[in-house]
């Protein structure tokens, strides 16, 4: 390290990233046009489920007029972030609507066309306030991770603060088709760099590294210019350019590439002293702090063979996806599938009226020939191509073998749960085996198995402790009895016989009592049904009922 510092002037060194594949990138199409502002759609949809299990509660009512940037929903707990209106207009409904991830209720708004801002509250010089204040500002602006996790950025920063020495700004957007970060960097590199510095200040990280890929030539040179333009001689924010490979932009892969360390399985990068933030998130933080704007838009790539002019939009959150596709002149009749995300990890949309969410980095309106279904699956020939590309250094061919054979334990011991589901193995498999899908299923099965084992262990423990309790109680009783016997054997024996006689007598009495009670109850029922048959309209008066009940109660008295 010392020697390296000497020759590099303290610049951090790039490390190797395991595995990876060079897939056809399909990025050039959407980078031909400039980043575009979009007109207003007829309505906006804001889902109230922010992330799996994170719900929001509306703070506006139907018919209310809201301004652009006005808070319209609050999180129910601190894992969520407040939601802001992305334009001015009238709340038409707080109804159910299909969301991208699942169904959930949503707020629907009709824009008034004026696009009028609410009053904004910028932090003019963030270095004058404490890092916690900066995090609070980011929290109230509702900034959430734009890299796909949609987790509250402020929450992540608060947890990382003081534990993290390196902040990584992830500009290594590596999945085919997606160019959202690249398009943003071409225009707003300075804003991204400033966002990185704000984040660095907020968590008090020693250094900030912007990681990008060598194929993003314009973005890289824009970043270089932005970094050169920072005034002040000693800043510790660096650019690191990685060779093109998928999935370099994976969180764990970037940690490996930047620090040379690996994030242990089940831990987060923060545990190794690194925080990774997406380019878009850094820019949103910059806007939130510098001009007080809440998170109301993100960059979305619209591409695919059926799209006439693929491009990147500054898409307002809540815009229906169909509207974005229409803006690019999409031939809807030729669409085979619309993929939300990239072509290696995305999900197929079942409904085009779902809105743009913070996770919508890319929309691919694919034709039939663009991403044809793979040919029929063939047997695995153990060629090992999958193991070569696996960024987690797994042996997919062995995992597949064991999962197929139902040996989940063997697959688990080979590291099944360390699979990041990047899909590189399935991408290269010459036998067209859907390995990524098998591993996803295998991981779910494994979790279920472990859960049921946990449950079994819990109940076994409870059962065993109960058995132990019963045994110790019995022992205790036995001991007491023995001690009594030891004290006066004859008297104790007599007492015991007496008690037994009393018990038997008591039992006889209670049985006779029960017989009388049953007879009384039968008589009551007979009487009531007879009166009900003669006077069907009349309902028993409350007094009657009460009397009956009280008399019944008296009858029960011994």
């Amino acid at each position: 390290m010392g020697f390296w510092n000497l020759i590099s002037g303290g610049r951090p060194r790039r490390h190797g990233i395991a595995g990876g594949v060079r897939a056809a990138s399909h990025k050039a199409e959407s980078l031909r046009s400039a980043l575009m502002q979009m007109p207003l759609p007829k309505r906006m949809i804001y889902p109230l489920q922010q992330h799996a299990g994170i719900w929001l509660k509306p703070v506006v009512s139907e018919g209310e007029h809201v301004l652009k940037g006005q808070r319209i929903a609050d999180p129910v707990d601190n894992r969520g972030s407040p939601l802001h209106s992305s334009t001015s207009g009238i709340i038409v409904s707080l109804n159910d609507h299909d969301n991208v991830s699942s169904t959930g209720s949503s707020i629907v708004l009709t824009p008034d066309g004026e696009d009028r801002w609410t009053g904004l509250n910028p932090l003019s010089d963030y270095r004058q306030v404490s890092p916690d204040k900066v995090i609070d500002r980011i929290r109230s602006a509702g900034v959430i991770g734009l890299g796909g996790t949609a987790y509250s950025t402020a929450e992540k920063l608060a947890r990382a603060k003081g534990r993290v020495h390196t902040l990584i700004i992830n500009a290594a957007e590596c999945e085919p088709c997606i160019t959202a970060d690249e398009a943003l960097l071409r225009q707003e590199a300075a804003g991204v760099v400033e966002g990185g510095r704000i984040l660095q200040y907020a968590i008090q990280a020693e250094r900030c590294i912007i990681a990008t890929q060598n194929t993003k030539i314009d973005a890289t040179s824009a970043l270089r210019r932005a970094l050169d333009a920072i005034d002040g001689p000693s800043h510790n924010i660096y650019l690191m350019v990685f060779p093109e490979k998928y999935p370099t932009g994976g969180e764990r892969q970037l940690v490996q590439g930047v620090t040379g360390k690996q994030v242990p399985g089940g831990k987060s990068p923060e545990d190794t002293g690194v925080l990774v933030q997406n380019t878009g998130t850094a820019y949103a933080v910059y806007r939130a702090v510098q001009s007080g704007e809440p998170l109301i838009e993100r960059i979305t790539t619209v591409t695919g063979a059926t799209v006439r002019t693929p491009k990147n939009f500054q898409a307002r959150l809540g815009t229906p996806i169909r509207f974005l596709l229409e803006l690019c002149g999409t031939g809807f009749d030729r669409i085979e599938q619309v993929i939300h995300g990239g072509s290696l990890r995305g999900i197929v949309l079942s409904n085009l009226d779902t809105p743009v969410t913070p996770a919508t980095n890319c929309l691919i309106a694919a034709s039939k020939d663009e991403f044809p279904a793979p040919p029929p699956e063939q047997p695995c020939i153990r060629c090992g191509l999958c193991a070569n590309v696996c960024p987690a250094n797994l042996l997919p061919q062995q995992l597949h073998w064991f999962i197929r054979g139902g040996s989940l334990d063997a697959a688990a011991s080979l590291g099944l749960s360390d699979c990041i589901e990047c899909g590189a193995c399935a991408h290269v498999c010459p036998s067209h085996i859907p390995l990524a899908g098998h591993f996803r299923d295998g991981k779910i099965d494994l979790e279920e198995q472990q859960e049921s084992l946990e449950r079994g262990r819990y109940w076994k423990q409870r059962f065993e402790s109960r058995q132990a309790r019963i045994a110790s109680d019995a022992e205790e009783r036995q001991r007491n009895r023995q001690s009594r016997l030891d004290k006066s054997p004859a008297s104790v024996a007599k007492v015991t016989t007496d008690t037994d006689a009393v018990t038997v007598a008591g039992r006889e009495i209670s049985r006779a009592q029960a017989r009388i009670e049953i007879a009384a109850a039968v008589a009551r029922v007979k009487k009531r049904s007879a009166s009900g048959a003669t006077e069907p309209e009349s309902s028993p008066e409350p007094g009657d009922e009460a009397e009956e009940r009280s008399s019944g109660g008296q009858e029960h008295e011994p």
């Binding site: 085919p176 991403f371 193991a387 987690a392 011991s413 996803r440």
Partner: protein, 355 residues
């Protein structure tokens, strides 16, 4: 518009098992061509017969096992087995020998183990070793491109070769034996002192003439052909460097250690072990069969070392004239054990106990 639900990924690399197999066959072409150039039509006849039989047997076995024959035949794996078998068998083999070897390879070594991807042993080598054990004398006779009047590519040679493959054409077993005796010679390794020593030394002394058909240069040129094919496979990323490199380095190292400069005939020269024998074919084409080889990077290196040691020791101290087939089968046998002890460290699992 139809919205089909399928899981990611949606984009695939242009690579298929069918294509991998075809490229392996393609990479055999230089070696086969040179073999034919020096030794006549026998190998081509072998390959053709083996291919026809292998395809028929494969289709039959697939049908018996309830698989769709047409779809699975397209994976070309039976063709690769047949081509490698055709190359390995002596070029003066009768049709029924080729048939026996193919049946053993496809039916027993491949499909009885569960078909493509499930076979523990390389099918082509199983078929070859079956014949080697059953007919040791025949299998140790190599085709000799004899004297001056012998033209391996001539029509007369084709006629002779066909007569040997189909003995009934020549009128029975006796004439077959005469033909075979007339065209066979001992493997250069059977009597290293005379045949190989002289042949290789002469080749090294500068007689190496690419275009004069003769045993001296023939074996080396064939090895060069398979080396070229193997480099092509490496370049195309169909095989990795680990297995061929470790086999060749091991064989070369052992050959250097045991080389006796005063009497190179005893164990042969390193050059003989690398180029005067089927080492190249085995290292690049047969040991790299992914199904029966080890698949982890360190495992491949260990697998290659084991095969290299077996090649050298069986060849030098064993009873059989050559050893590549036995060595590879022994390597296949070890592969699953090798893989257990060479699992790479999973990302983020350093220090964690792997069972």
């Amino acid at each position: 518009m139809s919205l089909i639900a399928s899981g990611p990924p949606y984009q695939f690399a242009a690579c298929s098992t069918n294509r991998i197999m075809l490229e392996v066959i393609f990479a055999c072409i230089p070696g086969i061509t040179i073999t034919t150039w020096f030794f006549g039509w026998g190998t081509l006849i072998n390959i053709t017969l083996a291919c026809v039989m292998a395809l028929a047997l494969e289709a039959g076995m697939l049908a018996l096992r309830g698989r769709a024959p047409v779809q699975h035949l397209r994976d070309n794996s039976a063709l690769v087995t047949a081509v490698l078998l055709g190359i390995a068998l002596p070029s003066i083999s009768a049709w029924w020998m080729i048939a026996l070897a193919t049946v053993f390879a496809i039916v027993i070594a491949k499909h009885l183990y569960g078909g493509l991807g499930q076979n523990v042993f390389n099918p082509a080598m199983c078929g070859y070793v079956f014949l080697l054990i059953t007919f040791p004398l025949h299998m140790s006779g190599w085709h000799a491109p004899g004297g001056d009047e012998y033209n391996p590519l001539g029509l007369h040679s084709l006629y002779l070769s066909l007569q040997m493959t189909f003995p009934f054409l020549a009128g029975g077993a006796e004439s077959y034996r005469e033909l075979a005796d007339g065209l066979a010679m001992a493997t250069p390794l059977l009597d290293p002192g005379s045949a190989a020593g002289n042949a290789i030394n002469r080749a090294l002394e500068g007689n190496l003439n690419l275009f004069s058909p003769g045993a001296e240069t023939g074996y080396e040129m064939i090895s060069m052909g398979y080396l070229a094919g193997g480099l092509f496979l490496l370049f195309r990323n169909i095989i990795s460097w680990h297995i061929p490199a470790s086999i060749l380095v091991t064989v070369a190292a052992l050959a250097v250690v045991f080389y006796n400069p005063d009497d190179p005939g005893i164990y042969g020269t390193p050059w003989l072990h690398l180029f005067g024998t089927p080492t190249m074919l085995g290292a690049f084409f047969i040991a790299t069969d992914p199904v029966s080889a080890a698949t982890t990077p360190r495992g491949k290196l260990l697998y290659g070392v084991i095969i290299g040691c077996c090649i050298y020791s069986i060849r030098s101290w064993g009873a059989y004239p050559d050893s590549v087939a036995f060595a590879i089968l022994f390597g296949n046998f070890c592969a699953s054990f090798i893989e257990r002890v060479t699992v790479p460290t999973v990302y983020g699992s350093r220090g964690r106990q792997i069972k």
